[in-house]
């Protein structure tokens, strides 16, 4: 089984995230970055599948120079090889352009075909739109089974469990397919010392847009179908009234609700 996992290098959510004043894009240099936490679940699930049978896991990322750290972390966890697509023309790409680049990278990584399985996280932790998996499936012409909290392979089919609002569903698709996984699906492993040492010898290929045959005019800020026209920091919420419960905390809470016309 040939599995490709798509991952993203994102600004650390614990840090002070912001935008570039010049072009309204996400600031990826002024803050610490890391492998998006939600993508660790995708890497872990791919590794579990590979370990259970015959399989090779390739990790693909698109991003600036430091984004290579995202795939390195995945290699340390146990992925077999990695691809980093990097090109100055990519800066400012929207989700649609990103999915175009990823689609070509996935095909090339699979030896100009389609892998049996493409696995992604449910969304990034910076943009959080959660649209790239669906866009990638559309570009690759693959069925998509998203938000998996459980994944089972049987023969040429994949089935997942999805916990929706109204029901818990079992969803089945033929292979090849694209699956996105939630943070409920597994417990991602920490890279072991052995894993960290082994990762140093694993191949990381760096591809440009030209390597993928993607016209630079189709990606980047100027080609984006949407553009951020302004951004503003929300004024921090001002702390309101704080009371310490001295036996009447609940009553005071209800009085506040009443004063605010919630009752």
């Amino acid at each position: 089984m040939n599995i490709v996992v798509c991952v993203k290098y994102v600004p650390d959510a614990q840090s002070d995230r912001s935008f570039n004043e010049a072009d309204n894009t996400t600031d990826r240099e002024g803050v610490e970055g890391l492998l998006s936490e939600l993508d660790e679940y995708a890497v872990e699930e791919a590794l579990k599948i590979a370990e259970a049978g015959e399989g090779e896991v390739t990790v693909v990322t698109v991003g600036p120079e430091q984004a290579v750290n995202a795939v390195k972390k995945a290699l340390q966890m146990g992925a077999h090889k990695a691809v980093h697509v990097s090109d100055e023309a990519i800066h400012g790409s929207d989700a649609a352009a990103t999915s175009l680049i990823l689609a070509e990278a996935v095909k090339k990584a699979a030896g100009d075909g389609t892998p049996d399985l493409v696995i992604t996280g449910m969304s990034s932790t910076d943009g959080v739109m959660g649209v790239v998996p669906a866009m990638l499936a559309e570009r690759l012409g693959l069925p998509q089974v998203t938000y998996a909290s459980e994944l089972t392979l049987h023969g040429d089919k994949v089935s997942i469990r999805r916990d929706g609002d109204a029901a818990s569903e079992t969803i089945e698709s033929t292979l090849p397919a694209l699956v996105s996984v939630t943070d409920q699906i597994n417990e991602p492993r920490y890279p072991s010392f052995k894993g960290i040492m082994a990762a140093k010898k694993k191949p990381v290929e760096t591809w440009s847009l030209a390597d993928l045959g993607v016209d630079a005019g189709r990606v980047g800020l100027d080609a984006a179908w949407t553009k951020v026209t302004s951004f503003a920091k929300r004024p921090p919420r001002e702390q309101g009234q704080l009371v310490t419960d001295e036996g009447d905390g609940g009553t005071k809470l209800a009085e506040f609700l009443s004063a605010q016309k919630f009752l």
Binding site: E138, S168, T170, G240, L253
Partner: protein, 318 residues
């Protein structure tokens, strides 16, 4: 006037509130047309017309609902081609965002998800989103001919505006590819009688501080007619279902009132509730970061504070 398509979110013909909100927003941009997929279109048509749908496009082949996302995408893509709408508005839930994503690629249109406001701009449809855990407000313009926008629930107050609601059948033959993914089993969740989390005006959430006992949280929620949410810590511990999780990897809610009980307020949680209008917290630890956000906070044990508040609310409501 330009046509604006609204994908109807419904349960067996019963229109969800989010759809009425989308129709209200659509009227600012142009002439709303509802796109209804599924049986019982007659029931739905009345409500859709009431909220301003000039046309109701109906695709009633029950097949469409057995498969995921792809049929809706194909039906909408056919309508986009036919009507060249200014915008397609879709509810910003998990399925809605995926339909928006696939439709965007198929029709080469710009897409925005999680919009909290949509207006007609000079250079195209303008949207507002809250990003980075609600710490920034971002305005964007969709520069393509058709804008595809997934709009969050509770983004606008519903206003009725009766229109014709003229029914027009849609004839699309679904591709085999659209039928590759099938729902083979669906176990309905037990109905709680509480409002849906993302649509509720009031949400009461419990976290680690409940120690697994959500009783006081649920009783307080019920006294207020509120939905019940949970922090990631509570969900990871198996105390409450994942579908009730509020936060970055769960639901993003923006109710009139949000009550956090026994929740410390980590960034993961704040990402899901920071844009709520009024925030109340009950926590034993006065250093808990959740208190930085609150309009009213009680430093105390939720197991004594909430039951007392529940009684007081019941009494006040008579």
């Amino acid at each position: 006037m330009a046509e604006v398509l609204v994908l109807v979110d419904h349960a067996g013909g019963k229109i969800r509130k989010a759809t009425a909100e989308l129709l209200t927003i659509a009227r600012r941009l142009g002439e709303p047309s509802a796109v209804y997929i599924g049986p019982n279109a007659e029931t739905a048509q009345v409500t859709l017309a009431k909220y301003g749908a000039h046309k109701v496009y109906v695709y009633d082949d029950p097949d469409a609902l057995e498969y995921l996302v792809a049929p809706q995408t194909e039906i909408l893509a056919a309508l986009v081609e036919k009507t060249s709408p200014l915008a397609v508005l879709i509810p910003s839930n998990a399925a809605g965002k995926e339909i928006a994503a696939r439709l965007a690629i198929r029709t080469e249109s710009g897409v925005i998800t999680d919009a909290v406001d949509v207006t007609a701009g000079g250079e195209g449809v303008e949207t507002t989103q809250s990003v980075f855990a609600g710490s920034y407000t971002v305005k964007s313009t969709v520069t393509t001919a058709t804008a595809i926008v997934a709009v969050k629930p509770n983004s606008v107050a519903i206003e009725p505006a009766p229109a014709a609601g003229e029914v027009e059948k849609v004839d699309v033959t679904l591709s085999d590819a659209a039928k590759a993914v099938r729902i083979v089993e669906s176990k309905p969740k037990e109905a709680t009688g509480r409002p849906e989390l993302t649509e509720a005006a009031i949400v009461v959430s419990g976290g680690r501080g409940t120690g697994g006992d959500f009783g006081p949280v649920e009783q307080f929620a019920d006294s207020l007619g509120a939905a019940v949410g949970a922090s990631r810590a509570a969900v990871d511990a198996g105390w409450y279902p994942h579908s009730n999780q509020v936060g970055q990897t769960g639901k993003q809610v923006s109710p009139q009132l949000y009550v956090a009980a026994g929740i410390s307020g980590a960034i993961q949680h704040r990402a899901g509730m920071q844009t709520s209008k009024t925030i109340i917290a009950v926590n034993k630890d006065e250093e808990a970061p959740i208190f930085e956000l609150v309009d009213f906070g009680v430093v105390g044990d939720l197991f004594t504070v909430l039951p007392q508040a529940t009684e007081a609310v019941k009494k006040a409501k008579g």
